[in-house]
């Protein structure tokens, strides 16, 4: 039950994009088409789960015993960058279909601050390995939900008569604002807070 609540908090109540402001670059960058939004979300789910597990193991079994905690920022970003590269190579060889689907989105993920952010949050919250996995999957699915919803709305407003200065990004920010307001409605669900 605790794990379910953790998942729900990560997925809805503390939605990573709309309420925690992580991963905004891909959120606005690739949300103009539904198809690319789904591709990006799949890549994020895959990499976020994997990188959370690896950074957690690295932190608790290497950095802490060796008293190298101050190297956390540097090691995490390098591990994530190389992990993305390895994933790309591995998928190219072993799962060409999946590679083709994720394709161009994988390299973009290195600079997605949600990935590194979740790695830090898992440490700061003192999660166990099981909690880390559940939290990472919840956050990634929450990212997907927000991105897919946003892409759907942006496709619909493409031909709407928007005032000229608001075309493109500004109107997308207003949409995000309204979506965040809607997501605030989940606060209090099962007693979960922001």
């Amino acid at each position: 039950m605790d794990l379910f609540l953790l998942f729900l908090a990560a997925f809805l109540v503390n939605n990573i994009v709309l309420l925690r402001f992580l991963g905004l670059c891909p959120f606005f960058g690739v949300s103009s088409k539904l198809e690319t939004a789904i591709g990006m979300s799949m890549a994020v789910i895959f990499v976020m789960t994997l990188s959370s597990i690896i950074t957690w193991l690295l932190y608790n079994y290497i950095l802490v015993p060796l008293h190298l905690v101050y190297l956390r920022t540097a090691t995490f970003i390098l591990v994530i960058a190389s992990l993305v590269q390895f994933t790309e190579l591995f998928l190219k060889k072993s799962a060409p279909a999946l590679y083709k689907a994720l394709g161009i989105f994988l390299p973009l993920i290195t600079t997605n601050c949600a990935i590194l952010g979740v790695a830090f949050l898992n440490i700061d919250y003192g999660h166990s390995i099981i909690q880390t996995i559940v939290y990472a999957i919840g956050v990634a699915l929450g990212f997907m939900l927000a991105l897919v919803l946003m892409a759907g709305i942006r496709e619909r407003i493409e031909f709407a008569p928007i005032p000229k200065p608001f075309k493109g990004l500004p109107i997308a920010f207003i949409l995000a604002s309204l979506m965040a307001l809607a997501f605030l409605g989940f606060v209090g669900l099962f007693g979960l807070s922001l």
Partner: protein, 203 residues
């Protein structure tokens, strides 16, 4: 030389024009003080990493440059993180995970790759300062708007100065809480972006 400095503030403002570095801009702009703290941290990291990258540009091999940039940047981020935790613990708590996340702020890697790697040390220094101040200006304006409307105060410092009461005492009981919550952040930046487009004659 001076135009490198002005460029980052106005014509190539990282947040409003280039739309990069959005995550910290929205996440920590709940009050003017938090926003200023974040801005100063970014100015420090950006200027120092630009300085080192530019000074070492002749010894950094072309195909290894990105990982090297990241290590240089993360060194200064770690310094900032530890100094802030030691001397400004309240601010460090408010900014939370966004201090170590400066390392993936696209503005810093973007300036290292796009400018410092190809220019002399003084030019890179001015460019770093300019972009950093451009970022700080925007985040400070957003933080001020959100704090004034959402809390009724301006420049209040946790555990210190209680802030200027912009709309008088009465407003403090019924502020527009919406502005401090996440949706308010999105709304303010949307209007600022549209305003800057209108003013620069882009739209």
């Amino acid at each position: 030389m001076f135009r490198h400095f002005v460029n980052g503030i106005l014509k190539e403002n990282p947040v409003l024009v280039l739309a990069i570095g959005l995550c910290p801009t929205l996440a920590v702009s709940t009050s003017a003080y938090n926003a200023l703290g974040m801005g100063v941290a970014v100015i420090f990291v950006l200027t120092m990493s630009n300085l080192i990258v530019s000074a070492a540009r002749k010894v950094i091999p072309q195909n290894l440059r990105i990982p090297i940039f990241i290590i240089i940047i993360s060194t200064f981020v770690t310094i900032t993180d530890y100094v802030m935790k030691a001397y400004l613990p309240e601010l460090a708590k408010n900014l939370g995970v966004f201090v170590p996340l400066i390392v993936v702020n696209c503005i810093i890697l973007g300036r290292a790759e796009g400018f410092a790697y190809k220019h002399s040390v003084p030019a890179a220094l001015l460019d770093g300062l300019g972009s950093g101040i451009g970022f700080t200006l925007v985040i400070f304006i957003i933080g001020s708007i959100r704090e004034i409307l959402g809390a009724g105060t301006w420049m209040s410092i946790p555990g210190g100065f209680e802030g200027f009461k912009v709309f008088g005492e009465g407003f403090l009981n019924y502020p527009v809480l919406f502005m401090i919550l996440p949706p308010g952040g999105f709304l303010v930046i949307a209007f600022l972006m549209a305003l800057s487009r209108k003013l620069t004659g882009e739209a």
